[in-house]
Point group: C2
Chain length 203, copies 2
DNA sequence: GAGCCTATTATACGATCGTCCAACAAGCAA
DNA sequence: TTGCTTGTTGGACGATCGTATAATAGGCTC
């Protein structure tokens, strides 16, 4: 009998498995634990393989940022798709999805903190700009569906994003300070406030 | 001539200088740059002295968290003291002080990210709870001055803190997305919303 | 000035880091 | 089966990490 010492993978498959392993390590151990050796161990390959697929650890983390950011975006989009077709219900679903798994998750929080801590490097900063721009665009589109005046959309999207980010942050950091339901209630109140304002100004 | 190789300091003075040096290193280089050697170099002492005053690097960072958190609290209190004596002006000053130096500052942001990234360690988590509890208490007291109903105070403080944290975060992370003035405007709108709600419910 | 206390220095130690590279072997082509 | 391509391994390398410790010397007391 001859058990192979290793199996070859399609290059793109191996790349994705390394990126996924990096995400798991970041979620479990944070930025300081994401070493080449720990990632290779998590992926079940030898440490040297990381250098074969990525220019360096920074490039790998940057690609993991892009992949994780897209996963979050997909999860938010799924929440919108599962909501009532009413525009107000759709934007409410988008906003409050941040307060339930898989987004309100201690591991995802640790991963996100790791990305922020690397935001000084230009390679990571570029990813960051692209990801957050897509979030703002998604939210702005939902607000447009609700009939929010174009002039109000930009600042409303900024305020809503900030409130949701802040609530998500404290929900992950201090789970005892308030409940996910309370976060949903607060976000819903703010949304109502912006819609009332819009209705008044167009009356 | 005989220049002394080093000068002794009062133990507490030396401790504080090491804590201050740690804060500067964290602001400049983030969590990954805050090594014993880098901190000692910044403080102008030898690396071994750190071990003489602190049980380990984690203890030093925890004390730096406490000191930095108190500095932020003091800066916010100073902004309140400099505002009009009108209660609404005072809470507005407290809220919007986060969007100007020294709080809206890239270095402070890097420092704070470093603390968050260590929030898994119990030593840091305890500091975190204490600091954020004091912030919430300060804000709740200002809201009470404004006559906000006790039943509303808690959730209002949570929402206001979340919005301000979120705006502060994006202001530091993506300075180009919106201006500090716009952040002030958004925070002021939310404050007005909570005061109107309170006035309506008590009418 | 002598002597003591201890703040301070300088260095050693083992562990781990990112990167690099020569050798090996899986899997396809002929 | 033979040979080639290249995905993959495993260890070497120098740098840096946190911690521990013996030696040094500032600064006070007597």
């Amino acid at each position: 009998m001859s058990k192979p010492a290793f199996v070859r993978s399609e290059p793109d498959v191996r790349r994705q498995s390394l990126i996924a392993a990096t995400g798991r390590v970041l979620a479990r151990d944070g930025a300081t634990g994401a070493s080449v050796r720990a990632i290779a161990l998590e992926a079940g390959v030898s440490p040297g393989l990381v250098g074969h697929y990525f220019a360096g650890i920074d490039a790998l983390v940057a690609e993991t940022y892009a992949a994780t950011g897209q996963q979050v975006r997909d999860a938010l989009a799924a929440a919108v798709a599962a909501a009532d077709p009413d525009p107000r219900s759709r934007v409410a679903a988008y906003v409050t999805a941040s307060f339930a798994p898989p987004i309100a998750d201690r591991g995802l929080f640790a991963t996100w903190i790791a990305f922020w801590s690397l935001s000084g490097k230009s390679q990571i900063a570029a990813q960051h700009d692209a990801i957050y721009q897509s979030y703002r665009d998604d939210l702005a589109a939902l607000l447009a569906e609700c009939g929010l005046a174009p002039a109000e959309r930009r600042l409303a999207a900024i305020a809503i994003t900030a409130l949701v980010d802040g609530l998500w942050l404290e929900l992950c950091l201090l789970p005892g300070a308030f409940t996910p339901d309370e976060a949903r209630e607060l976000a819903a109140r703010q949304l109502d406030g912006y819609f009332e304002r819009s209705a008044n100004s167009s009356r």
